[in-house]
């Protein structure tokens, strides 16, 4: 079975500062990894995904994540955040070839003006 750990439940950061949201996973099989964002009162939106290939994945809105197999991590980064990035961010994993996602508990990113 897969599981996902998001160590930080809340991350406050000043506007234009860099941010890293941490995600670690556990799985005995190969996995696909995802980051989703949930803006207030909206559905989940896919930010980026790792399926195979380059371990550095670029997503929408200037976000990127790096897959580190040895550390079983998939941390999300952005070099300069904007007020509009304030949202809940979820890391998710699924077994290769499957479709049901296992989610972390989420990290609430608050960008401070």
């Amino acid at each position: 079975a897969q599981s996902v750990t998001q160590l930080d439940s809340q991350v406050p950061v000043f506007e234009e500062a860099p941010v890293e949201l941490r995600c670690n996973y556990s799985s005995s099989v190969s996995v696909y990894l995802f980051w989703y964002v949930q803006y207030p009162n909206q559905g989940l939106q896919l930010l980026l995904k790792y399926l195979s290939g380059s371990t550095l994945v670029k997503g929408i809105n200037g976000f990127e994540a790096e897959f580190n197999k040895s550390q079983t991590s998939f941390h999300l980064r952005k070099p300069s955040v904007h007020i509009s990035d304030t949202a809940e961010y979820f890391c998710a994993v699924t077994q290769t070839g499957a479709n049901n996602l296992f989610f972390g508990t989420g990290t609430r990113l608050t960008v401070i003006p």
Partner: protein, 114 residues
């Protein structure tokens, strides 16, 4: 990308009653999922609902409590039966777009049971 709508967006229900949540997709999809997001917790898969077959429930979820219908490729319902305060959650519908494999989520239904 698939656009998903859910009804109702939120509801407050009394203990012992049932609520049916509707999920409508703007395109035909084979795979549809129902998730639950309890307060302060992550999303948990309730069941997979593929058109033309019985829903497949995850461990801890049963059909009597969460009956699901999937009458066609664009629509599904989830019923939360005999509700208790522990059922207070956000319920989300999700689909996998057949041609891209992308998974999309609806806006969720916020249920409060008193």
């Amino acid at each position: 990308s698939a656009v998903i709508s859910q009804k109702p967006s939120r509801d407050i229900c009394q203990r012992g009653t049932s609520l049916t949540i509707q999920c409508q997709v703007d395109s035909q999809v084979t795979m549809m999922f129902w998730y639950r997001q309890q307060p302060g917790q992550s999303l948990t898969l309730i069941a997979t609902a593929n058109q033309g077959s019985e829903a497949t429930y995850e461990s801890g979820f049963v059909i009597d409590k969460f009956p699901i219908s999937r009458p066609n490729l664009t629509f599904s319902t989830l019923t939360v039966s005999n509700m208790s305060p522990e059922d207070s959650s956000i319920y989300l519908c999700s689909v996998v777009e057949s041609w891209s494999g992308e998974q999309y989520f609806g806006p969720g239904t916020r249920l409060t049971v008193t």
